[in-house]
Symmetry: D2
Subunit: 116 residues, 4 copies
């Protein structure tokens, strides 16, 4: 192991995380109110984010991103949801800086070449 004391390692300085938050034990099967509350919080934090139908993608330092997703849980708890489950897909890389928009652009460029 190259790190002499891995428990003192910092967390990654950049990551992209996509999360899908699910309230459990709610009176209805609709989750749109909860998702809207989360979107409002994300907007207030100033983090870079993008919502899609299966989750919301965030971009920032590991600590920022995870802190904000935790706050989304706390916000829904504060609003009466007793149990919350999230699925988070998080990636970090050291070979280059790549935001979530770059990832889509790169694939779309490859696909556009098919048309030529």
């Amino acid at each position: 192991m190259s790190a002499s004391d891995p428990t003192s390692l910092p967390t990654p300085s950049a990551c992209v995380a996509d999360f899908c938050i699910i309230p459990i034990g709610t009176p209805t099967a609709s989750v749109s109110n909860e998702v809207a509350q989360v979107q409002r919080l994300l907007k207030q934090t100033g983090i870079k984010y993008s919502m899609h139908s299966a989750g919301t993608t965030l971009e920032g330092t590991w600590d920022e991103v995870m802190h904000i997703i935790g706050q989304c849980h706390s916000l829904l708890h504060a609003n009466g949801i007793v149990r919350i489950q999230s699925d988070i897909r998080v990636g970090s890389r050291t070979d280059k800086q790549q935001g979530f928009e770059d990832k889509v652009a790169k694939v779309e460029k490859l696909l556009a070449e098919d048309e030529k």
Copy 2:
């Protein structure tokens, strides 16, 4: 249990599935070529789908959707990737029909009301 023989149950007639496919043991850290191959396959199948930076969302019967995600694995295997891992978020509901575009529209409508 209300189903007398649950092993004969059909799979859901509708679902929305979002998947993120990751090739393992590839020479480079880039996955855009593999994602582009998957997008080309999806287009050929005729299924309704939408790509975003953290995955691709499909809409169809359970069997269709899972068959196609399996074919995406097989396609990458056929192209030389020996190991593939996907994360799939899949939802089904019986209270109403809701496609992936409806989910985003409903949240955006709630957020638009904030502006009024």
Copy 3:
């Protein structure tokens, strides 16, 4: 692309899938009844499976595994749950046969060597 018609590709002949199933819109925050129903169904199917605190791991052909997870959704729907969300981590590989028990054993062997 090496596959001339990728839409006719078969799905993988072997996979390991780990799924976490969440009922939405239930009267209580407990999900243990639903998880127990799923476990009973899995037992009846005869598939190889293993439950842990964050999900259940299945091993079989892609079609078997995905069919059974779909039946788990249908079972909970039949028992009155109108909306269900699962997170599935699924892996396939062509370089060797590896069941879920082998994966743990291999890591534990590496860790055991630390003690020597």
Copy 4:
């Protein structure tokens, strides 16, 4: 919204998180070395954890758990892996304290009653 300034909310004081870490762009399809490195780090941190074939489950405060998963990424980066993707299933609840062992025990109790 009941929280007057949601951006000042704390993260949850307890959570259970299950993560599956995948190195991308590695010379081989085997990930057991990387998983073993992660297990060694987890042991050194003193957090409560349990490995299974599809991931590792952690129990602690939100901040502790997410900090440690971030350190796992950093450790693999330090050891030469340029890109890493994790899937994290994380749950928090305010109605009761429930560790990951309690969750399995509760389901197993329900299943044991079937035998009576």
